[in-house]
Amino acid sequence: MAELELEKIVGSEYVFDHPTFLDEYAEDLSFNPRIKPKGIVRPANTDEVQRIIQWANKTQTPLIPISSGPPHFRGDTVPGIDGAIIVDLSRMKRIIRIDPKNKIAMIEPGVTYGELQSELAKHRLCAYMPLLPRRSKSVIGSTLEREPIIRPSHHWDSTDPFLCAEVIFGTGDKFRTGEASGPDTVEEQWEMGRFQMNPFGHSHIDFQRLISGAQGTIGMVTWATLKCSYLSEISRALLVPSENIEPLLELGYLFTRFRLSGALFILNGLNLACLLTHEPDEINKLRNLFPSWILFTSFEGYGILPKEKVEFEETDFRMMAQSCHLHPQDQIFGVKADDLLKLLSRPSTEPYWKMRFKGGFQDLFFLTTLDKTPRFIHTISNLSSLYGFPSEEIGVYIQPIVQGTSCHCEFNLYFNPNQINEIEGTKKFILEASKEIANHGGFFSRPYGGWKEVAYSKARGTLAMQKKIKQIFDPNGILNPGKLCF
């Protein structure tokens, strides 16, 4: 019955219920329980998405929105309850409009970073990238998840680079957020010089903040506008090695405080090795050469004086580094910073960089401030010995966000997915570690899987309010049940 109704909406070729397909969506690479969906539907446009949601409301069918291709890692795309339909938005792949003057791209949810970057480059623009996303990652998916971008000074607010969106709420109502919210069609708005660039509102609500970080529980986005950056005419990159993380954090503070405009993040040696090479042996070899910590930065030359921009930023950065007693390098152990910069402008090559070392991984990330990251590194290190998780198999990624006012702190727990004991060890470790991190003030702003209990146990007021808001936008609770606090 469900199938028939859905076929009427999207056409029979886009509704799937073959067990093979259902199995694919029943689980991902996280430790979340396996729950098989009832079917998969792949709409082509807003109208179809809206009709699917309206249908689901009538039939009380849970819907799980997905825009990225596999593999999935965080459990947010796996049904939380039985009988769900996966709404796979990956067919919606249009890059609707690129506005080189205002530096905006309007895209559909199925567009990946690789696709977007290629198109933007034609207009001398580039996307704000997270750290080497997997090839199948949806740009809108990543943005809505508040995945941090690697250029912290251009990250003014946690929702960046997200501007406006068209969304179908859980009620089945269509809405356009920010400047996009009417009147007229988008095309008519363009005629008036309205390019859906301003994210505020509409009116007394910031709707875009309710759909980002929501894991698809409030609405499904059918297009979004994103702010983009100029494509650099000339770029430079540097690596800053250090055995201690503290001086790098100081440098990170200086960089963000004075708004140097390029990329900046800190990795431990293992993660840098994972970014750069594919084979575990090579990774091991490299990480043994590397110092404990490496700060990566770039200087982006665009605008009317690109060369001068890069020169001034690099020189100032070197002065800042000097004040922290650090020595920026063009390359370390044969790894050229400029080569890494090129790598960072595209999605990860296959295999995804986090799968290269041991095949499996689990991320543990949260928000804190840069000055507190050593405390968490220490905590994780202590816990790893307590739980027998090899500390040398933990990657670390520290990304200043919101112009340096906080940072994304990520531990990547690498394990062999074919070893039951490693799986079990990782499971246990990640659960305990998340509790410890929360107890030490780490903030699970984006709670996936098991972290949600930890996060919400410390956010009772937020939980109560989110439930009320959910009641407004998705009163029947059809959107991604089981996620967040729903």
């Binding site: 530096k103 946690s158 007394h204 910031d206 004086l305 906080s406 003030g441």
Partner: protein
Amino acid sequence: MKLPKEAYQALEDIVGPEYITQEPEILDTYNQVWGNKFFFDEKHSVRPSAVLLPATTEEIQAIVRVCNQYQILFKAFSSGFEYLSLSLLHGKGILLDLRRMNRILEIDAKNMRAVVEPYVSVYRLQLEAAKFGLYTGRIGVGYSAGVIAAECCHHGCQHTMVFTSGYGRNVLGVEWVLPTGEVLRMGTGENGEDLFSADGPGFSLRGILRGRTGANGGHGIITKASVKLYPWYGPPEWEQTKQPGEVLSLGQLDDVLNGYKVFIPTFRNLDDTLEAAAEFCRAEILYALGIGIIGAEVIPEGNDEHWAMIQKMQNADPDQREGLDLFKNSVVLVIGGQSQREIEYKEKVIMAITEKWGGSFLPQYNNQRSLARAFADIIWSTGVNLRATGDFLPSSSSPDGSPDMLKRLALLEGKVKEKYEKSGAFMPVGSIEKRMVSWRPEEHLSIGAQGISTAIYDPFDPFSLKAAREFINELFDPRSQFKRFGIPSRGGCLQIEPVTHVHQNWGHLYDHYDVWLRKIKKMLDPNTVADWTAYIPPDYPDYPKEGDYVLPSYGKEENNF
């Protein structure tokens, strides 16, 4: 009206007799503010039943609970310099004057944030933050604006937003007394941690905090907020001085502060000016930008002195008169840098872009005194523009969007305004023939800019007032040409829903945003005790009638009981 005795007693028990009043002499000082005459047809809006001066969040919670118990409207404010912050729907309402909550609780220099209480003004925070090499942007209502009001509660925009953003984008944490009396602490604050993120877990409750417009007290009271700070390149202290015998308004900096430079290029025509301005913004070099807004000239002592200056200029020779129009094609550019190298780079960019668009640096603007004056004006404030006629109307819908849109809107609106200026109802800004266009860029123009224009009128001059109302109605008729441009919030978001019915008239044009907003209002405020005059009612009343956009339905105390 008087509150029921037991309700008053309950409130008095919370704050103590010294900090509550129902004396009419005092109450009537909480309902007279600029703009009232335009909106309510008299200087007085509704007289509150009582005014309270709470000192803590706990007191506010308790007050709000009493309001729920006795069905009393409440609204809180800090500086109170806006009719939005003092207007009440009806007389069974109280105001909470938050001036006793005036602490800067924290400045975390490293993580660039400040945590403040409601009565901390923007300028006070600027002065304190400068000691740590930090800065908080300004908004357009002058020095006394509250930080929390600006960031969490009201609409406000200004020239520093190119660098410091605004509209709630700087909020890192909030303590919010909901209309039910519960306290919501967003994000990290809920767990007693440092207030560095208000987002999550999960979707951000900042989504219902303020939007673009600010809830203006319509959904509770913000008692504490953590806000982002930005680099301050200048010295930790500075002095604006004047010569003995000079009036205070002549006080100014001797020079642009170290760490900053100011340039005022002038271009040949409007198109070049706006294109150049956009390029300056997108070059990511600016600390502040003002188009056609040059505070480089001496601030006149008063209106009569100003009038004398104008007359002198009007009597000047044609060349000089031509010079008067130049300011409309001039742009104030402020750059700052942590190193000489940074400043030099930014200066080179300014020179290159100026040359590209055929601009030049006129000596009358680009001299030490004028540049220092322009710097202080654009970085802090010179106050509020109410001297000339006693009032002004932020007349456009003040939308945000692309520079192209804002230019079209300004020119269109200018045409409408022209007839009122020619008739003498509005004070012309610049010459009528050469229309000025100005917008305020946000975040290096990466998310657009805010357009604004004002009608300077005298609300106590019947001719001028009538014109102002006609003008606004023409602009805000949902059937008019203006509807397509942006946000239907009358007068720079200074709208009073019971009078203007903006949500009611315009909501359907804008994807029915008002339906969601009313649901949120109902959810947050089940007993409708948070005054919604500058927010939205849970349910619309029967009016308005077709074509009737200013109804004399508000401002009478006897209404709505």
